[in-house]
């Protein structure tokens, strides 16, 4: 069809079709907006935001634990003050309950999105390779899913142990400090916690980088490299900081 055969007389239209001879006349327009709520990227964004909540929480939690090195009085006072934060505007322990609700909601969102993405990934390659090599993937990145399941199991154990006092390997004293130290003096409890911190470190190593990438904050090579360093530093600081306490007990630095 020659431009003259199109029969449009308006100046704008003429301008448009006059370009025809220089190339293909594109008349397709983009289809209407589609929903993006349940897309893989939306699920990943949910995981990134909830993951950020966890990173913030474990940083504070790790900081609090280090009070164990200042002895029973300092540690127990810190535990007590946590419950008095924002009182009398909140009831005793109120802020902790708010934190717990936020953490449980984040956990539900994080795990639900993870399992949904896991299922989609499994469906995306039903016929597996006879031979498949990992060229660049780190151990941390390849163990995110099962490592996450292990961490979930650990969180349940940890709550039964130190929050609800259902599991009492080191006796059941009133003082949080005595409870902590008494537990870690049982070697297998210390081992469980140290292994869990290894898993946590690996999860944060890839997870924190992945969070920054999913949030779209790494869109140039410099920031991409920085975000890898952020993952590594956070993993070492958080997992290392947590591990100091059971190690301190095992080495006899932190004692009853």
């Amino acid at each position: 069809m020659r431009p003259s055969e199109l029969g449009h007389r308006s100046f704008a239209r003429h301008q448009a079709v006059s370009g025809w001879r220089y190339g293909v006349l594109v008349t397709t327009t983009a289809p209407g907006r589609r929903s993006g709520q349940a897309t893989t990227i939306a699920l990943k964004l949910l995981m990134a935001v909830t993951g950020l909540v966890f990173v913030g929480y474990v940083l504070l939690h790790m900081y609090g634990n280090l009070w164990a090195f200042s002895g029973q009085q300092a540690f127990d006072e810190y535990a007590h003050h946590l419950r008095e934060l924002l009182t009398p505007m909140l009831p005793y322990g109120g802020l902790l309950w708010i934190l717990r609700v936020v953490l449980v909601a984040s956990l539900v969102g994080h795990a639900a999105a993870a399992f949904a993405l896991w299922a989609r990934a499994a469906k995306a390659r039903e016929q597996r390779y006879a031979v498949k090599k990992a060229v660049t993937a780190t151990l941390a990145s390849r163990t995110m899913r099962w490592g996450g399941v292990a961490l979930l199991a650990f969180v349940i154990f940890h709550i039964l142990h130190l929050t609800t006092h259902t599991i009492n390997p080191g006796g059941d004293p009133e003082s949080p400090y005595l409870r902590l130290v008494g537990s870690f003096q049982v070697w297998w409890v210390a081992v469980i916690y140290l292994l869990a911190m290894l898993a946590l470190g690996m999860h944060i190593r890839h997870g924190a980088f992945s969070m920054l990438q999913t949030l779209g904050l790494t869109d140039n090579r410099r920031r991409y490299r920085i975000s890898h360093a952020v993952g590594l530093v956070l993993a070492i600081v958080i997992a290392g900081g947590f591990a100091l306490v059971p190690l301190g007990v095992l080495l006899g630095i932190v004692t009853t």
Binding site: R34, A124, Q127, K133, S210, Q213
Partner: protein, 247 residues
């Protein structure tokens, strides 16, 4: 050199497939990988057997048509396309396992050839600029900073071969998607439809049965055009913007 090839044979998409072993002798190290397969096919044809079906077109590394999983690595041991891989990357006595791209979004047509029209449908969903471009504008009519132009060009080198999907443990096409999104997002022409584009393309990507990205980086490591992983960050950023602002 003499090699043992283990090749996936499957007569059509609905039939069951299996790995079949073929010894091959007197392979020159100057042969390309596809020429080595051509030699095998000549022999199979002469013996009255079905030749191995595989895709290839330009054989100079620019069209994106070829692509084989070689010893568990997309496009084999060198960072290039399968057609630009040469037999000098192998040694005498090697066992070479050759499989098609494995992804639900890339169904096997026959042997090593897969249907990659899913990529075409993702592009159809928004990977273009839908305005009449008119006559070629003056070069300085809409200035593009060098940084953006370079990044757009780097992203535009994607040849849609599908190696990223093949290498991804999640069968995700995020690197392909990220390259296409970044290519247009860095240029002024791409701005008008920027956020509807990302929604529609991501939606189509998921519909085609590709998985989600876990930022592992296997895609970038095998990409023959070395598209960096940060294009996926741009994809995520645009998607976040589109979702947040309910584009």
């Amino acid at each position: 050199m003499n090699l043992t090839l283990k090749i996936w044979r499957q007569p059509n998409g609905s039939a069951a497939g299996e790995m079949v072993t073929y010894p091959i002798t007197d392979v020159s190290e100057d042969m390309s990988f596809l020429e080595m397969l051509d030699v095998l096919n000549e022999r199979l044809t002469a013996e009255g057997q079905e030749p191995v079906a595989f895709d290839s077109d330009c054989r100079e590394g620019i069209c994106g048509m070829c692509g084989l999983m070689i010893n568990g690595v997309a496009h084999g041991p060198e960072v290039t396309t399968t057609c630009q891989l040469h037999m000098r990357s192998f040694s005498d006595g090697d066992v070479v396992t050759i499989e098609p791209w494995r992804a639900s979004g890339f169904p096997v047509l026959r042997d090593l050839a897969v249907d990659r029209s899913a990529f075409d449908r993702i592009i159809d969903a928004g990977g273009y600029v839908s305005v009449n471009t008119g006559a070629a504008p003056d070069a300085h009519a809409s200035p593009v900073p060098k940084e953006n132009a370079d990044r757009a060009f780097d992203a535009a080198t994607c040849i849609s071969c599908g190696a990223c999907v093949a290498a991804c443990p999640n069968g995700s096409a995020s690197l392909f998607l990220g390259a296409k999104i970044t290519h247009l997002a860095e240029l002024p022409q791409g701005q008008a439809e920027r956020y509807t584009r990302v929604l529609n393309m991501v939606h189509q990507h998921d519909l085609e049965g590709f998985g989600g990205c876990t930022n592992i980086g296997e895609c970038t490591a095998v990409c023959p055009k070395e598209i960096p992983q940060d294009v996926i960050a741009t994809l995520n950023k645009d998607m976040r913007h589109a979702l947040w602002h309910r584009v």
